[in-house]
């Protein structure tokens, strides 16, 4: 009976804490539109490719200058090792 009462006390405390939490999240980041607006580095169609440095499958580095002057198809794939 004592343990049951203690458990009830803890659970009621948690319930009270949950109901008393701030009504909006403290680090609320806003809607997806707001987040997109906040990201200033978004690359738009027609803009120049920013400087970049990548490593290819053979371990060779590839920079923006290597790509300029060629027809390039860039694809983005989710990684399997994140």
């Amino acid at each position: 009976m004592i343990l049951r009462s203690l458990a009830t006390l803890v659970l009621m405390g948690l319930l009270g804490l949950n109901l008393g939490l701030p009504t909006s999240s403290m680090t609320y980041r806003g809607s997806e539109d707001k987040i997109r607006n906040d990201v200033t580095s978004e690359l738009l169609v027609g803009q120049s490719l920013p400087p970049l440095g990548l490593i290819d499958f053979d371990g060779q580095s590839v920079t923006r200058e290597d790509l300029l002057g060629h027809r390039v198809l860039m694809t983005f794939e989710r990684s399997v090792d994140w």
Partner: protein, 140 residues
């Protein structure tokens, strides 16, 4: 309706609901493996690995709960541990809600779920068989 019958009803309902949810998580993993699939849960390969793991664990928990619903007096500890785990899940949701990383995706859902889990946990604490009842039923 007496206390034990309510307990059995609660455990049975929870057991079936958790089992179905576990099954859907396992199915989500297999559906994600199809080439070109769009994940129903916004997570990657590692996340889906743990989704499947959670689904299997939920199926096990569901089995225990259904067993407790069928024979509550000889599986009292399942009610105790379920109450504890539900309270733990509520705390995790409270933290997730206040941190804010999940707000855009889930809104106030974590907080609502936390309240529901705590109320169910309270119900389990008060409805589960007492030690004396279990001992008497098991002839100890």
């Amino acid at each position: 309706m007496n206390r034990l019958r309510l307990y059995r009803l609660l455990m049975g309902t929870l057991g079936v609901a958790i089992g179905l949810f576990g099954l859907s998580l396992v199915a989500t993993f297999f559906m994600y493996q199809r080439p070109g699939s769009i994940p129903t849960i916004p997570t990657g390969p590692v996340g889906h690995y743990f989704v499947a793991f959670s689904g299997c664990a939920l199926l096990g928990w569901s089995g225990g709960m259904i067993g407790a619903a069928r024979d509550p007096l000889s599986s009292r500890s399942i009610g105790t541990m379920s109450a504890f785990v539900l309270a733990l899940m509520a705390v995790i949701r409270m933290v997730a809600w206040i941190i804010g990383d999940y707000y855009v995706w889930l809104g106030n859902l974590p907080r609502t779920e936390a309240s529901a889990f705590l109320l169910i946990s309270l119900a389990l604490v008060w409805l589960r068989p007492t030690v004396a009842e279990s001992r008497a039923a098991n002839g100890a």
